[in-house]
């Protein structure tokens, strides 16, 4: 019968093992040791022959005999330096004695540590050695013991099963090892070692650890496969705009990324917009993006891969999209990647950083992307985007930015949502027939200052206060509530609120950019009392709302009393606010500004 390639392979491996097969299973049969001449030189050959002569007779120990069938003395002795000077050493016995703690591999196709990492259950199995487990059962079951890294990850890209990939690697390895020992490759290696004796030290690696590209690093292989998976998710199509951000669900509403996508969808195919989530997973709120926008869950695709490799891969993925512009919208991972690769990324990408307002910490100091990243990156990124004139001015003043450079700091004025209806006047009835109601919404945290609302409520016992939101800090941030405060819980969408019941809206944040909520309330015709912080003053004015400076509850009380004293006049002011904001903040203007900044006249080749 003709010999198959696998028969030939078995023959090559048998030659690498260097021993004649056990003559029989008869107890105590001596094993014939064949003297071998290799390119490694006579000293290595003598050492191996000596070790082989120390083998046990066949038939005494079934485990020993099974290991012997594939045991590669050259491979083992190049690793086990402590055995090289021991005349009585028997490498097979040495290997078996190590059991699951074996550091050296018995043959180049089996890596003890990697096998146990992939199949940890075999560390305490019934066999004396995990190698025996693999020989007797694991190999047939498709368990991978090969030293190559990333086989399982890369196999799908290669259109193969992992077992087939291992088989191919193993064939290449056997052939290479045979040529190193007895062929031309080993001859030229030995000749090079004559030219530079330090090369001889590298025999050790060539014999015991030649790696096959591209299976050299598990993390790199997995990351390459993950980039491919992201490409699949994206339909192997380029982008015009890439938004790299933390997570899909980050507050309700459209937020900046949603506004931007909706606006640019007027100019380009929504499929040309790609959003990459790097720090968390979740479900994107409905209507955040127009249909067609492509989203990639980078975090899930790269889970378990070390962060250094993720950073490199994120940069590679972004660059592969060949977008007109890339926005870093609070992505922690991309900011991490910018530490080593920021300049390299900006060399090819039109990279913009999006800064929102800084956050005050529990001890009073401030933290924010703008504080951390403006000065290190502003020299090399294409631009900085803020959501408020206030923050832009702060950056310019703090860092002494020249007029010329200031042009690279742009404000994206969030568009007003004209689809939010004007609440019908007097829909809740006259306040002479019922108690007035003031609405407030937000997180119960240090920034939103619900404590001010509670104090205002105490001072206005004739008015009811309805608070939407939930606490995000431990403990009880509100303390004991007066009877006229109702906690209504969180809401999903602004449109779910029955604003017809509201006589006024109260906004008390201690700091902010241009809050979406203020823009939303401004559309309703509900009179708005708002703390004049950050970019809030870019939405409200004393002519059409009740801005409050400082945090004195008395000022809020005075504003609310003014509204309740003349509801019709207050209503007229609130309607005027809607008209002005709609005129100032159109989606068209937003789209024009975003397109001018972010889209190139024509896509790159």
């Amino acid at each position: 019968m003709a010999r198959t390639p696998k028969d030939l392979l078995r023959g090559a491996r048998r030659r690498l093992s260097g021993d004649a097969p056990p003559a029989s299973a008869v107890s105590g049969t001596p094993v014939e040791v064949l003297a071998e001449q290799t390119n490694f030189g006579p000293m290595v050959d003598a050492l191996v022959e000596r070790a082989r002569r120390n083998q046990r007779d066949a038939g005494l120990d079934a485990d020993y005999d099974l290991v012997r069938e594939s045991f590669d003395h050259y491979h083992y002795l190049y690793q086990a330096k402590e055995l090289q000077e021991e005349p009585d050493a028997d490498p097979i016995r040495h290997f078996l004695r190590q059991g699951a703690k074996a550091r050296y591999s018995p043959t180049a196709d089996f890596h003890p540590q990697k096998y146990l990492r992939r199949h940890p259950q075999h560390a305490k199995g019934p066999e004396r050695s995990p190698y025996l487990e693999w020989l007797r059962r694991g190999r047939a079951a498709g368990e991978i013991a090969d030293p190559s890294d990333g086989v399982t990850a890369l196999a799908p890209l290669l259109g193969s099963e992992p077992g087939e990939v291992v088989e191919t690697i193993s064939e290449l390895r056997s052939d290479l090892q045979e040529r190193l020992r007895h062929g031309r490759l080993g001859e030229v290696f030995a000749r090079a070692a004559e030219v530079e004796p330090l090369i001889a030290v590298a025999w050790e690696r060539a014999v015991s650890g030649t790696q096959q590209l591209p299976f050299r690093n598990e993390g790199v292989a997995r990351a390459a496969a993950a980039i491919h998976a992201c490409h699949e998710d994206l339909g192997f199509r380029r982008a015009r705009l890439v938004i790299v951000t933390r997570k899909p669900r980050w507050g309700g509403g459209r937020r900046l990324e949603g506004h931007l996508a909706h606006a640019l969808a007027r100019k380009i195919d929504p499929r040309d917009i790609v959003v990459i989530y790097t720090d968390d997973t979740g479900e994107t709120p409905a209507d955040r993006f127009p249909d067609g926008v492509r989203e990639v869950d980078f975090l899930t695709r790269f889970r378990g891969i070390n962060e250094d490799t993720q950073l490199h891969a994120l940069v590679a993925l972004i660059r592969s999209l060949y977008a007109d512009a890339v926005l870093n919208l609070n992505s922690r991972l991309l900011y991490q990647a910018m530490k080593p690769y920021g300049r390299a990324l900006a060399a090819s990408e039109n990279l913009h950083l999006v800064f929102f307002c800084d956050e005050q910490q529990a001890l009073g100091h401030w933290e924010g992307r703008g504080l951390r990243w403006f000065y290190p990156a502003c020299d090399y990124v294409a631009g900085i985007i803020t959501d408020s004139e206030h923050q832009r001015r702060e950056l310019i003043d703090r860092y002494g930015v020249s007029d010329e450079e200031a042009a690279r700091i742009q404000v994206f004025h969030a568009p007003a949502d004209a689809s939010i209806p004007l609440v019908s006047a007097g829909s809740a009835g006259s306040t002479t027939e019922r108690r007035p109601v003031v609405f407030w919404a937000g997180r119960f945290d240090r920034q939103k200052r619900p404590d001010i609302v509670v104090e205002v409520a105490r001072r206005m016992p004739d008015v009811d206060f309805r608070l939407w939101g939930e606490k995000v800090l431990k403990g009880d941030p509100l303390g004991e509530l007066p009877e006229n405060v109702e906690l209504a819980g969180p809401y999903d969408r602004f449109a779910d609120l029955d604003l017809g019941e509201a006589d006024a809206w109260l906004y008390t944040a201690a700091w902010d950019g241009v809050p979406s909520m203020v823009l939303e309330v401004a559309m309703t015709g509900v009179p708005l009392v708002a703390s004049l912080v950050g970019g809030v003053g870019e939405v409200v004015s004393a002519a059409d709302a009740w801005p409050v400076e400082g945090e004195d509850p008395a000022a809020y009380v005075a504003a609310l009393r003014a509204i309740l004293a003349d509801p019709d006049a207050a209503r007229a002011k609130a309607v005027a606010l809607r008209e002005r904001v709609l005129a100032e903040r159109t989606e068209q203007a937003y789209a024009d500004a975003a397109a001018a900044l972010l889209l190139r006249p024509e896509a790159r080749a």
Binding site: R179, Q211, P340, A344
Partner: protein, 250 residues
């Protein structure tokens, strides 16, 4: 006409280049014995006085010496290749070692060409690191069932010590390293760009290069600063899968 030009590049090497030059002479002799004509050039790029003195020894008088003022490996290659006579170009860093058969076997492979491709660029089968670090890697031909272009997003397959047609170098000159901006690995870039333009990357059986890894080598420097290869249109999401398929324009 000359079949092959071998360029040894030196900047601050002295006696470390002794084994390098000996291995180069042996490999050149083997190539000539197989019938190839070989031009040998030492390129001294902003060489230190000690390096210049070392390579000016009479023992290297059978090599042409070219003085270059580039301060960059890739730019030096471009300059020297432009004036080289050989149809094919091989490079050798002044601290690395060729296997004795690299040039002869490599020339057999590149001159044979490959159907459907513009030409062949050959790399040794085995890349062995020695000295400070030890490692041994078997290279991969681009038509291997184990080849995936996705690996190239993160790592390179081929070292710069290849044998390539001079035309491939003229089509795809090396870019400069830009370490302050974190852009390096011109050999990596050269491999991608040539592959995309229809030059086939193969490996030559039974050949090896031995790369000396000292603490101060350029690769170590690039790695320490975490440089990456430039952004290349060949690696765009809609192009990368075809990278190694031998499709090229004209």
């Amino acid at each position: 006409m000359t079949d092959l030009t071998l360029i040894v590049q030196a900047h601050n090497e002295t006696v470390v280049a002794g084994p390098t030059m000996r291995s180069a002479d042996i490999a050149v002799e083997a190539a000539r014995a197989r019938g190839y004509t070989v031009q040998t050039i030492i390129a001294l790029d902003r060489a230190t006085p000690a390096t210049t003195a070392y390579f000016n020894q009479p023992r290297y008088d059978h090599w042409e010496r070219v003085i270059v003022d580039e301060g960059d490996l890739g730019a030096t290659r471009n300059t020297v290749i432009a004036r080289a006579d050989g149809d094919f170009i091989a490079c050798l860093d002044a601290d690395d070692i060729f296997s004795e058969n690299w040039l002869s076997e490599g020339m057999d492979v590149v001159t044979a060409g490959a159907e459907g491709f513009r030409g062949v660029i050959a790399s040794p089968e085995l890349e062995v690191l020695f000295d400070r670090n030890l490692a041994s890697t078997r290279n991969l031909e681009q038509d291997s069932p184990l080849f995936t272009p996705y690996y190239l997003y993160l790592r390179g397959y081929y070292d710069s010590l290849c044998i390539a047609p001079r035309q491939a170098h003229l089509d795809v000159p090396y870019s400069r390293r830009d370490i302050p901006n974190g852009l390096a690995y011109q050999d990596f870039q050269f491999a991608i760009e040539t592959m995309a333009r229809g030059w086939k990357h193969v490996i030559v059986k039974d050949t090896a290069i031995f790369k000396r890894r000292r603490d101060t080598s350029l690769v170590v420097e690039s790695s320490a600063r975490r440089a990456i290869v430039r952004s290349l249109p060949e690696m765009a999401i809609d192009k990368v899968r075809d990278l190694a398929k031998g499709r090229f324009d004209g």
